[in-house]
């Protein structure tokens, strides 16, 4: 329901980053680059041919990437459903999504060694490992270096096109107020969701599942997606809360928006558990050695603790925590759960990647992991600040903005 008083509220609100962006960008970029340099030095000191560095880098890269992909999915689903409630936070998610060019550059430390013939990360890149291994030989028409590179280019191209399309149309509307832009975004959201599904699924297969090239799980792409949407929505909540703490968007984003974002988080907490359990139960039940090897590695040598931590921290605890209405309506409490979910989503990425590095020695952790996390997150945020620029942080001329500002949960 649109009320004239609500649409006026936006004119009194502080909706641009303005000077904050100019101050934050060099700080974030500087910290990010320094942390990455520190991580590279720490990786070199280990003297294991950068093997630990690459595995930890992939963990943290997939974590940061999932935030951007989750935010992108959020944008697409709002257009596909013609949602009115979410307009007030849609620009934030558009900005969080539209960092593909920086994410591409940050992907080079994973891609370049593969192209240059390093086998530190992916066993299937080594012809010596493939030769004589029936399964790897069978998969080699797909799992080979040139095709891997082509697919990576394809994923980034698709993501770049989609994020750019939605951000540019949306910003264009801020200036022109043209309602037909909304219609064109709605029309493209369907095909964009299909492209998103295909690219995220295969990116998860290529970058994470192929760490164990003999193992396979058709649900793997959805597993990565389910964590990504959680991370994306959590990041949107935290970004909105941080902007409000800095005196921005104080009148545009209300407890009603946090409540609805909290409902999405709650739903996708269960979705993640559903997907994770679906994968686990089929493999556990069939008990076929070539499939159980994945969970065996994650139940032995100290990894069982990480697996249990995920079952509780990623599903059961936030399920109970996000269940009450009051938890979702209070900004501070919801922000706590968002941080909680991001921590456990990071642990999930760690759980996907690191058992391949040390299946026998147990979960490794060191300063290098922290440095890489700080470095990648800071560079990602620096990019987001640059993308936001001087534009409004709310789609100020979206035809459904009034509906969003007047949102009320019954």
């Amino acid at each position: 329901m649109m009320r004239p008083t609500a649409t006026l509220r936006i004119h009194d609100d502080h909706v641009t980053l303005a000077a904050l962006g100019a101050r934050a960008f060099p700080l974030l970029a500087g910290i990010g680059l320094a942390a990455l340099a520190l991580a590279a030095v720490l990786g070199a000191v280990r003297g294991d041919g950068f093997s630990y560095f690459f595995h930890s880098y992939l963990t943290n890269y997939c974590f940061v990437l999932s935030i951007a992909l989750g935010a992108l999915f959020f944008v697409l689903i709002q257009h596909a459903t013609r949602a009115g409630w979410s307009v007030a936070v849609r620009r934030i998610s558009e900005i969080l999504a539209a960092n593909v060019s920086v994410l591409l550059v940050l992907f080079l430390p994973v891609l370049a060694p593969v192209l240059l013939g390093s086998h530190a990360l992916y066993e299937w890149t080594s012809p010596a490992a493939v030769a004589g291994d029936h399964l790897l030989e069978h998969k080699s028409p797909y799992l080979n270096v040139p095709f891997f590179g082509i697919r990576c280019v394809f994923y980034f191209a698709v993501w770049w096109l989609i994020t750019r399309f939605f951000l540019r149309r949306s910003v264009q509307q801020d200036h022109s107020g043209d309602a037909s832009l909304t219609l064109s975004m709605e029309r493209f959201s369907g095909p964009a969701l299909l492209l998103f599904a295909v690219t995220v699924t295969f990116a998860a297969f290529d970058w994470l599942m192929s760490l164990e090239p003999r193992w396979f799980s058709t649900i793997y792409g959805i597993y990565y997606f389910s964590g990504a949407i959680l991370a994306g929505v959590a990041a949107i909540v935290l970004a909105a809360a941080a902007l409000q703490a800095s005196g921005r968007l104080t009148m545009s984003v209300t407890a009603e928006h946090y409540h609805d974002l909290g409902k999405l988080l709650f739903g996708f907490v269960i979705f993640w558990g559903y997907i994770a359990f679906s994968q686990y139960m089929l493999i556990w039940y069939a008990n076929i050695p070539e499939e159980t090897v994945y969970y065996l590695a994650r139940q032995t040598n100290g990894w069982a603790g990480v697996s249990l931590a995920l079952a509780f921290g990623h599903l059961l605890v936030p399920f109970v925590g996000l269940l009450p209405r009051s938890m979702k309506r209070r900004k501070g409490v919801l922000a706590f759960w968002c941080v909680w979910l991001l921590v456990f989503h990071w642990l999930d990425m760690y759980w996907l990647v690191m058992p391949n590095y040390s299946p026998d020695a147990g979960p490794p952790f060191g300063l290098i992991d922290v440095a890489l996390l700080v470095g990648l997150v800071c560079l990602y945020l620096a990019s987001a600040v640059r993308v936001a620029g001087g534009e409004a942080l709310v789609p100020i001329k979206d035809p459904r903005l009034g509906e969003s500002l007047a949102l009320e949960n019954f």
């Binding site: 329901m1 559903y274 139960m281 039940y285 008990n287």
Partner: protein, 407 residues
């Protein structure tokens, strides 16, 4: 609009049941609702074509207990599912599936999840109806003719006479001062509130019809019947052909089945080489392998032995396989433990006799001819001979260069 005196319509009838007041729009109704709330009425309600933000607060409606009911329903669903599966699978009919424990939580999660959803959804559905006192076929406010507009463009507030504070004149005054544009007095009708007798007859007829199928099932199941059972869907059960042992007057003796012509051999069963297929030459068991003896054949035999034989005979042939151990432990009455393959009576058997045992079975051992090919049966016999040799080897069997190590 509020300044204009509202029209009060009063139709003839019994005692006053409710007052229905119409308001000009949603904002006026919200304002009126807060006044009625402050006046302390309990049995009253507002009726609008669409949900109005802020109406809950204006009416002073407390948060609903429905979420707690749904939570209780979900917990009950989880408990019911786990209890049911535990009872069925671990107590009433213990049955090992896929080597999992009898009470195996991961396997029970899907059913538990579904029952949580089912119980929660049904609780929500029934709870919404119960909390709203639905279905309610008749209500005094239906007496007001203008009330029909509550589903298109009218905004109404009704106060019921059963409210302890209700007093017609004071309630009407309150509604007037709250800005009602029209007030209808709804009275209990003298007649016309009874359920038509046709409804009772209809329900009774349906109840009787619903009882018939279970009665029929109970009658058919309550002992032997001479008639064949009712067979509503024939599928391919009845076909124009003769079954084995059926009568056919065309043939001598009335036998529908035709005996095979003497000397007929089915495809793939031309087994003239009795040494190979039966393990016999004449009446004598063969003592030489009718197949080539090679290391590959021994390996193949070991693989087949471990699949087909080891469950009872054990991997070494001692007769200590898992099946045998379990049957012995449970003291199964019909169980005959397998002889050790290293026992004297087995060791002296010619290979043909061993082959015959694999092919046709012996005592409780079933025949394996249908599962294991002829070549594989011979390979198993070959491996059994190797196993026997391994337990009764002499120093002469050990290669020269390794004898020193054994001393």
């Amino acid at each position: 609009m509020a300044e204009k005196e509202p029209t009060i319509a009063d139709a003839p009838g019994g005692a006053v049941a409710a007052l229905v007041a119409q308001f000009a729009g949603p904002d006026e109704l919200v304002e009126a609702a807060s006044q009625v709330r402050d006046a302390g009425y309990r049995y009253w309600d507002t009726h609008t074509p669409y949900p109005i933000h802020g109406m809950d607060r204006a009416m002073g409606i407390r948060p609903t207990v429905l979420p707690w009911m749904v939570l209780a329903g979900g917990v009950a669903g989880a408990a019911a599912a786990l209890l049911m599966q535990w009872w069925m699978n671990a107590v009433d009919y213990p049955y090992i599936i896929s080597g999992k424990p009898l009470f195996s939580l991961p396997a029970f999660i899907p059913v538990t999840f579904e029952l949580i959803v089912l119980f929660s959804a049904l609780t929500a559905f029934v709870g919404v109806l119960a909390l709203n006192q639905l279905p309610q076929l008749w209500h005094p406010v239906f007496q007001s003719r203008r009330f029909a507009r509550a589903t298109s463009d009218g905004f109404f507030l009704s106060i019921e006479a059963r409210d302890p504070k209700f007093e017609e004149s004071r309630a009407a005054e309150l509604l007037q001062s709250a800005g009602a544009v029209a007030i209808d007095v709804c009275r209990m009708p003298a007649t016309g509130r009874e359920v038509p007798t046709g409804v009772y007859w209809g329900v009774a007829t349906l109840a009787i019809l619903a009882i018939l199928p279970p009665l029929g099932v109970a009658w058919y199941r309550s002992g032997a019947k001479k008639l064949p059972r009712i067979h509503p869907i024939l599928d391919m059960d009845a076909q124009p052909k003769y079954r084995a042992q059926a009568f056919n007057p065309l043939f001598p003796g009335g036998m529908a089945s035709r005996p095979a012509v003497p000397g007929t051999i089915a495809q793939g069963e031309m087994d003239e080489n009795t040494a190979l297929y039966l393990g016999k030459l004449g009446e004598q068991w063969v003592d030489e392998f009718p197949v080539p003896v090679s290391m590959e054949a021994v390996q193949r035999g070991r693989e087949r032995f471990n699949i087909y034989c080891a469950p009872c005979h054990g991997l070494t042939g001692e007769g200590d396989g898992m099946v045998s151990q379990r049957a012995t432990r449970r003291a199964e009455p019909n169980w005959v433990p397998p002889l050790s393959l290293h026992a004297e009576p087995v060791r002296v058997q010619p290979v043909g006799q061993l082959y015959n045992t694999v092919t046709n079975g012996i005592r409780t051992m079933p025949p394996y001819a249908s599962q294991i090919s002829v070549e594989d049966r011979w390979a198993i016999v070959l491996y059994v001979k190797a196993l026997q040799r391994s337990q009764h080897a002499t120093l002469d069997d050990v290669p020269e260069e390794m004898r020193e190590k054994l001393r």
